[in-house]
Amino acid sequence: MKKKHTIDFSSTWDLAPAPESTSHFKLKEQYDLFINGQFLAPKSGKYFDTINPANEKVLAKVAEANEEDVDLAVKAARKAYTNVWSKLSGKERGKYIYRIARIIQERAREFAVVETLNGGKAIRESRDIDIPLAAAHFFYYAGWADKLDYAFPNRKPKALGVAGQIIPWNFPLLMAAWKIAPALAAGNTVVIKSSETTPLTLYLLAEVIQEAGLPAGVVNIVSGAGVTGSHIVNHPDVNKIAFTGSTAVGKIIMKAIAGTPKKSTMELGGKAANIIFEDAALDQAVEGIVNGIYFNQGHVCCAGSRLYVQESVFDVVVQKLKDRMQSLRVGDPLDKNTDIGAINSKKQLETINKYLKIGVEEGAEIYQPTCDLPEKGYWCRPTLFTKVSQSNRISQEEIFGPVLAIQTFRTVDEVIEKANNTPYGLSAGVWTDKGSKIFNMTSQMRAGVVWANTFNKFDPASPFGGYKESGFGREGGLHGLEPYLKFD
């Protein structure tokens, strides 16, 4: 038997802690709802604690909006739409959106640190991806505001009115930007709800909106759990629902708005297939797989959570993956050298651990690199499973954590069938050095986004959205304007 040679990643040269400074801003003790241009105490009278998942400490108290609060927000949005926003020219709307983008850039450091404190994601990501990309979305859609007539030639685009938006906890500010920017550019006003675990950056955004001088009521921000969301969904004066979150909740929303004139877009779960052919640039493919599944602790709806490796290179790909995983640093999200931060919430950690257990019980082989985890907070080591079957739950269900399920394949037809054999269809990845193979694969993948020789790349100009149970409607690009417009 051939001896296996493995790389020893232990080293006496280690990185000293490099924590990002938090002294340049101060969080408030309490955050109120942002309605009609003002911070208002909730009619519910209730506040909930929002914590730092990396150490379980309370960061601030946040207002919980009830039906009455949501009603106030929708009324403010309606009034702003009728009296102010719908009367402004596209050019004027654009100016406001540009202003929001610029102020986000100015306060980027603060946004990045708060996003990391509240969500647990590594500062490297919030600093280099979340915040710059959020600003980029506002810049991009600001440019469309006065060009709608050219965007849809010979069709007269008109705003819908009040858009109700519900966003998830994995990319709070970025998801808000994806939703608010096109809505405003198209001429709508907004009531948006943050997730119950990560409400803080949205209230920073509220400050930005105030600073930008946006007319009162054009953007209203509320926080709370699913119940608050249901008040938005069920409010009779909301014209459109834009939701990003789980497929289960998406189904509930669709049932609730069936029979109403509300328009909707849904960006839901995913179980993306990443496919490595034997002729791929393997080391770069491995890097892409790692970015595809361990980015943001795997809390990414388009995460490449299923890996299909051509049989001839299976051993070497798995070995390279394991070696790469050893150099991933798990720990303090504020440390600039951290690759994998904290799991967003206790509940999510329980879900992930449940699936780890299921994977082992199903007979799959688990691998996790050895690394110390902090005592407090919610943590999960990057994980991969081999000896996985297509029928295993870990390869069928969305885990939303740093867990990769690996299978092999022999032929192109086989892998296409396996990759498409899922209720989801948000994204996919193909790794090969051969151009013709890329075109063949991308045209047959039933997924909204297919990356070739890269993964998890986002740009405001590029539409994003799903097939099948991953949702419908597109966000980003010209396509992202359409769900916020009607045509005569």
């Binding site: 040679h5 990643f9 006496t12 040269w13 990185l15 000293a16 770069q284 892409g288 070696d323 020789n453």
Partner: protein, 300 residues
């Protein structure tokens, strides 16, 4: 043994390489890890002089500097080696007697490699006979470009044989003349399989010399070779690395690609002439908290 088919050497994706580099260079190396890295870097330098104007005296000065980098700061390591033309090997060996600084000689019609096999062999033999511990050879890039990979392979094997068991062979690919990362990978594989102990990016005479992407491709080639054979090949980026910051980024790349075992001058070297002084400047700054003038550090 399985036949090695160099036409099936792994492909390289340049965009992916650049993504990986971006991750590595964003590592924050501060405080004690910076200091430790700087000492390590000093100890990995092949202090080099390869000019037409080189003299015995210049080589002697360089040799002294190699083990007296900056005596004002006690406890500094010496450099790994000095790197000179074959005709200065004897001088360097004499000067460095009793130290642990090695003598490396460039050979095989450095830097162009445009000569006959006889001359290259003789060039190598002179260096070895005069006591060089290491030989830095250049590959025949012209032959490589015309697809004569066997020629390139055989030439390396021939020089390796001339080096014998005790002299380590560094094979310079001159990546600035190879064109693409795919070809860098191919040349790396050929060199390792033909008997290189080290693979080295450049002569320093051609721009671009060492770059982070090229070095990463070569480190990954070394890793694959280790996976299949268990043999550790060394890496030497040379030319264009003149700042401490860049040197630390190279070390981080080695650490995250090959692990701690490669982080010694047995397996990693910097071919550089001006890097040492910048590292010294940084070490002095870490100790005193202020930057000193360049004039406090000897140029040669």
């Amino acid at each position: 043994m399985k036949q090695i088919d160099f036409l099936n050497t792994p492909r390289i994706d340049q965009v992916g390489i650049e993504d990986r580099i971006a991750r590595i260079t964003s590592r924050s190396i501060k405080k004690e890890s910076k200091m430790q890295g700087l000492y390590m870097a000093l100890n990995m330098i092949d202090l080099t002089t390869l000019e037409g104007a080189d003299t015995e005296e210049k080589v002697k000065q360089l040799c002294f500097k190699a083990h007296h980098l900056h005596d004002e700061i006690p406890g500094l390591p010496s450099t790994a080696a000095v790197c000179v033309y074959p005709n200065f090997v004897k001088t360097a060996v004499n000067e460095l007697k009793g130290t642990n600084v090695k003598v490396a000689a460039v050979a095989t019609a450095f830097p162009s490699g445009q000569s006959s096999a006889e001359i290259k062999l003789l060039d190598t033999k002179i260096a070895v006979d005069n006591g060089a511990h290491e030989v830095d050879m250049v590959i025949s890039r012209g032959k490589f470009h015309s697809g004569e990979y066997n020629f390139v392979f055989d030439e390396i094997a021939m020089i390796k044989e001339a080096c014998g068991k005790n002299v380590r062979l560094k094979v310079i690919l001159e990546t600035g003349e190879l064109g693409t990362l795919d070809r860098v990978r191919l040349a790396s594989d050929i060199a390792m399989h033909a008997g290189a102990d080290f693979i080295k990016t450049s002569t320093g005479k051609i721009k671009p010399a060492a770059t982070l992407p090229v070095t990463l491709v070569m480190l990954e080639a070394i890793r694959d070779y280790y996976y299949s054979t268990g043999i550790m090949i060394g890496m030497k980026p040379a030319g264009g690395i003149s700042t401490s910051k860049l040197a630390l980024q190279y070390l981080m790349m080695v650490k995250e690609t090959l692990g701690g075992k490669w982080l010694t001058n047995e397996y990693f070297r910097f071919g550089a002439s001006s890097l040492a002084n910048d590292v010294l400047l940084q070490i002095a700054k870490q100790k005193s908290g202020i930057y000193q003038s360049n004039d406090y550090f000897s140029k040669a």
